[in-house]
Symmetry: C2
Subunit: 176 residues, 2 copies
């Protein structure tokens, strides 16, 4: 039985790597390619769910940040800090949200360098509707057990920490 019609790309890559270099980095290779692939699948899924609103997952994250913020508005720099993306990306993200009428730009009271992004009534509506959709879909991982999800988060937190990302411990979960 050498024939196996549909191939698992990750298994195949591992097999070939081992065939050439021995088994040296196989666990890391598999883990990394798995992360890349799952992220790709998840992003596609979430973007499909959000498409009716004109949102992507990135836009959703930015919009949600504004929705949950004290005055329904934040400096762009703050958004970049929280989303951990470059200032350039924030400019583009807010441009898109502004085009949709979900956000407006405004001046900061005291510091004329900073611009404030504020969520509009239409933005609030979209944020709530989109949140409900994603909530009901359990963010695209509804078929995974809570145990798997928790374990996953723990391992990935350790990775983030080791990469220099700021990580809090004892983060609230459903079970605590």
């Amino acid at each position: 039985m050498t024939l196996q019609a549909p191939r698992d790309p990750i298994a195949e890559a591992t097999r070939q790597w081992i065939g050439h270099w021995g088994k040296t980095p196989a666990p890391s290779l598999q883990a990394v390619t798995s992360i890349m692939r799952v992220q790709q699948i998840l992003t596609g899924h979430l973007n499909r769910l959000l498409k009716p609103f004109g949102l992507s997952f990135s836009r959703y994250e930015a919009l949600m940040l504004l929705y949950l913020s004290r005055n329904h508005s934040l400096p762009l720099s703050k958004i970049g800090e929280r989303l951990q993306v470059h200032p350039t990306s924030i400019t583009g993200l807010i441009d898109g949200l502004e085009r949709l009428g979900f956000v407006v730009r405004g001046p900061h009271e005291s510091d004329r360098r900073t611009t404030l992004a504020s969520i509009t009534p239409a933005g609030i509506e979209a944020a709530e509707a989109a949140a409900e959709i994603l909530n009901n879909a359990r963010f695209g991982v509804e078929k995974s057990s809570d145990e798997d999800l928790t374990t996953l988060t723990e391992i990935l937190s350790r990775m983030r920490e080791q990469a220099g990302d700021v990580v809090e411990h004892n983060v609230p979960t459903t079970s605590s």
Copy 2:
């Protein structure tokens, strides 16, 4: 003690979500945002490692596929299938590798629709050097334990499977 200078974006998002909607989807929210963030960190890290060669991780994957293939050449469609990306992306990827002199396009023997990508001597050199770099860096996750990496791969495999991705079981690892 309400002050905590550096914030963990994922913990913060979880906290705010719970504050507004109760604890409903917290495990999935955390898992998904963690995957997104780690993928982002990893991609940045790997791209930095590969930059001296003119490669990105995507280009590296395509180049590696050619390097490991029987005749050092593959139809573009085959590459897309193995990398699980759209034909358009393959066109762009091969364009970039061709510009670097690592790959050349050629005709297929029997089917004039398909174009063949073949790795060049320079491409082979780059592939081997890049593979050694990534190998030594354990693909950017050198600080994670093999146990964490294996568990991670298992959970992500289940996710891929549930998402309809082809998944083989009993994939070779260091310990089997």
